[in-house]
Homo-oligomer: 209 residues x 2
């Protein structure tokens, strides 16, 4: 993309992952605990104070943005902060996306109670978040080309149960500045949600080809 | 909905809110700090240990599910754990949805870096999550009637900037078991995303009218 990027070597990337990934995993556990807890008011107050103290320490050095790092090996943005795939964003499950040689993208991941809509089922909007992101990855060659979602349609075939899921996406065709991508969310019994999206190369990126 | 509910009085609701809301707000601050922090490895390790300790205490008493509470005054599910509106889910911005007498639903909220896709812009999938939820609220009279998303189409008119946003949704028409809802996400300059959804009353709820 036409934004200033800093390249990160594969080695430095591994070092950063091993530093940040466990922190984010612990944060995901804490989000789950915050939803489920039934401890008394005093314990909740103490927990809040402890959380504020940790936040204060982490805020000691603070980046305004984290979206400017790119992996030197793959050429892809690290997308640390991304709410679908970000290794440093506790909101993300995260999807750890695999890119096949034919351009297909897929990910397997577990969704717990933090992603629930109707009882026992994934929130329909979470399905939309994950499929929008995955179709965008397929349409943009792993975020290396600037493409923005123009339109996306999600068809819910049945409820998506919490637990282990798989998402996949691929490009159907490209016509001029428009790339048509398609994808699915599935459980062990097959597809639960279908997605069709049109992704558009923005005007500012068209001259560059 | 046809799930077992426990009624919560308005007074008890206020007490629970004042207990849980500050905890979740602190957690949202911690998610942001986790994304932005540039502190050294030792401080990160210490932060992680402190987070695990807090999680351990909150897990001392743990509910398997939190989706069975209903507000005695409004008749609506509390949806504590919901990733779009949940007061106890740090993933949710949250949207604090207002229900107008004519059935229109709207919310104003701020989205920070945890919801970012392209630099400075809200992730398209987060727009989808919030609009899917809001259209669902409009279609189901504030989640008091069982309706599931059948299909939803999102049209992205332009990038949605991080910051203060407004979302609104309303029912266009109902045909048999299908309810057609429409909505928008807007910044100060107008609409950024349009959504059209078809919401379906499940077969098991049709006999009850």
């Amino acid at each position: 993309m036409n934004f200033p990027f800093t390249s990160v070597t594969a080695e430095e990337y591994e070092r950063l992952c091993s530093m940040y990934e466990p922190l984010t995993q612990s944060l995901r556990r804490l989000i789950d605990a915050g939803i489920r807890t039934g401890v008394d008011e005093e314990t909740i107050r103490d927990a809040r104070a402890a959380i504020d103290e940790v936040a204060g320490k982490l805020e000691g050095t603070r980046f305004e943005t984290t979206s400017t790092l790119r992996h030197a090996g793959t050429g892809r943005p690290l997308a640390w902060a991304n709410p679908a795939v970000g290794l440093r964003n506790a909101i993300a499950p995260p999807m750890n996306i695999q890119h096949e040689a034919d351009g297909t993208c897929w990910a397997e991941f577990d969704l717990g109670i933090a992603y629930e809509g109707p009882p026992g089922l994934v929130h329909g909007g979470i399905c939309a978040l994950l499929l929008d992101h995955l179709l965008g990855e397929a349409a943009s060659d792993g975020l290396t080309k600037p493409k923005f979602t123009g339109t996306i349609t999600l068809k819910y075939l049945r409820g998506t149960p919490l637990g282990t899921l798989r998402a996949e996406a691929f490009v159907e065709r490209t016509e001029g500045f428009k790339t048509y991508a398609r994808g699915y969310l599935s459980d062990a019994d097959g597809h639960t949600v279908e997605a069709d999206g049109v992704f558009i190369q923005p005007a500012w990126a068209r001259d560059a080809g």
